[in-house]
Subunit: 226 residues, 2 copies
DNA sequence: ACCTGAACACCGTTCAAGT
DNA sequence: ACCTGAACACCGTTCAAGT
């Protein structure tokens, strides 16, 4: 049998190799040509399997976000389900920090991200939120978790190109100065868990309001029921 | 006097022209070479005023985010101050949709973004939140507003490269289907205002908790005061 | 002091050709 | 069916040279 010097090219081999490069060296280190070199293949061979770079990235996004559903939640209360889902999202992000900003930016074209939104809405439906505020609540939850993850990733990213701003010209930031100690000791995990509880308490408050307004309308039926 | 065919090159002319190009044609339409062409100048003349493309973008970011503080808030309550600041942030984003994702990604290197965070913390201090939770609350507020703005911008961006996903293979998203009507009729402004109120109510709840725990500790002084 | 133009080391992608 | 290599139309940036 003829021995080959490398595996035959395939979509999954291309995806996996590209993701390795991105996780190791950053998104900007991935070019079609550098990827081909890593695969030990002519730069243009990749185009036989994948139409262009945008499609390559989309494929990688889907592989990464699919992990969100690889292990189903065993939680029973909607509160624990929401925590499970959002913590898992954050954990995926920190595991693939260089690909996640692009994934989040593709929210409105990615099937995996649509599934994530569907999962959030499902949890809110199960909680019993009225349809009137469920979409808005879902947007707030999604905005929080994506915004938080980007804040954390951007912080962790060492940015060698960051221009050194003239600290002499810098305005005094009095509140940051006042809270210097709290800012120094706080961990992202703290803030994330606080944010989770903040969201859940807010949703619970809305559920209570809804229940109360239903109780009131039962005691005082509308005049249509004269 | 000698008439010139164009204004002499300057940092502000470069910044303004670049921002115009980005707002009109998108971020990817801006290259040092295309910018030089727009300025009617040799491609390399720009490098005499600005060290590189990263510095050009940073300069543009600062000009955009500086608008956040151009008009000081006249609001008195911390609630109205917070609404004013976050609404203004969103309004800046929709005015410069193509530059904002990069600005948000530069949160940890941008003086303007640091000032925005300082302003949020200042409002929370004024509200009277205890130092123990003020940083976490600030992170949640910042995560919400940046995440929301990116969600909205990504939605509005027409993405010509978006790969058409095989809708036959698409999983059924039952909750999105169930809420189809609510999702169709909801506006981003609705969700944003809902999110603002959600944040404010949550902060108010924490203020009440804090006040209650203080009242309790007054009535029942610790045994150190035996 | 400010601008120019050639050159270097890259990109993504197309197309005709090879096996 | 799958891979190759030349070519096209771009990038950001450096450097020596011009006025």
């Amino acid at each position: 049998m003829a021995t080959k010097t490398r595996d035959p090219l395939s979509i999954s081999l291309i995806h996996n190799t590209a993701l390795e490069v991105i996780n190791r060296d950053g998104l900007e280190a991935l070019s079609m040509r550098s990827l081909a070199k890593t695969l030990n293949v002519d730069p243009m061979a990749i185009y036989h399997h994948i139409p262009n770079k945008a499609a390559l990235l989309s494929g990688i996004y889907e592989g990464v976000i699919a992990e969100l559903f690889a292990e189903p939640s065993l939680e029973t209360s909607w509160q624990d389900q929401l925590k499970f889902l959002l913590r898992r999202f954050r954990s995926l992000a920190t595991r693939s920090p260089n690909i996640f900003p692009g994934l989040i930016a593709s929210t409105h074209t990615s099937p995996g991200m649509a599934r994530a939104i569907d999962a959030i809405l499902g949890i809110l439906l199960e909680a019993g939120l009225p349809a009137k505020i469920i979409v808005q609540t879902g947007d707030a939850v999604f905005a929080f978790v994506t915004g938080f993850v980007l804040l954390e990733l951007n912080h962790n990213a060492v940015n060698p190109n960051a221009p050194a701003h003239d600290s002499a010209k810098a305005l005094p930031l009095e509140n940051i100065a006042r809270l210097r100690e709290e800012l120094r000791t706080n961990q992202f995990s703290n803030s994330f868990e606080f944010g989770l509880q903040f969201l859940i308490s807010g949703i619970e408050a809305n559920l209570l309001l809804e229940a109360a307004s239903k109780a009131v309308s039962k005691r005082k039926p509308r005049k249509s029921q004269a």
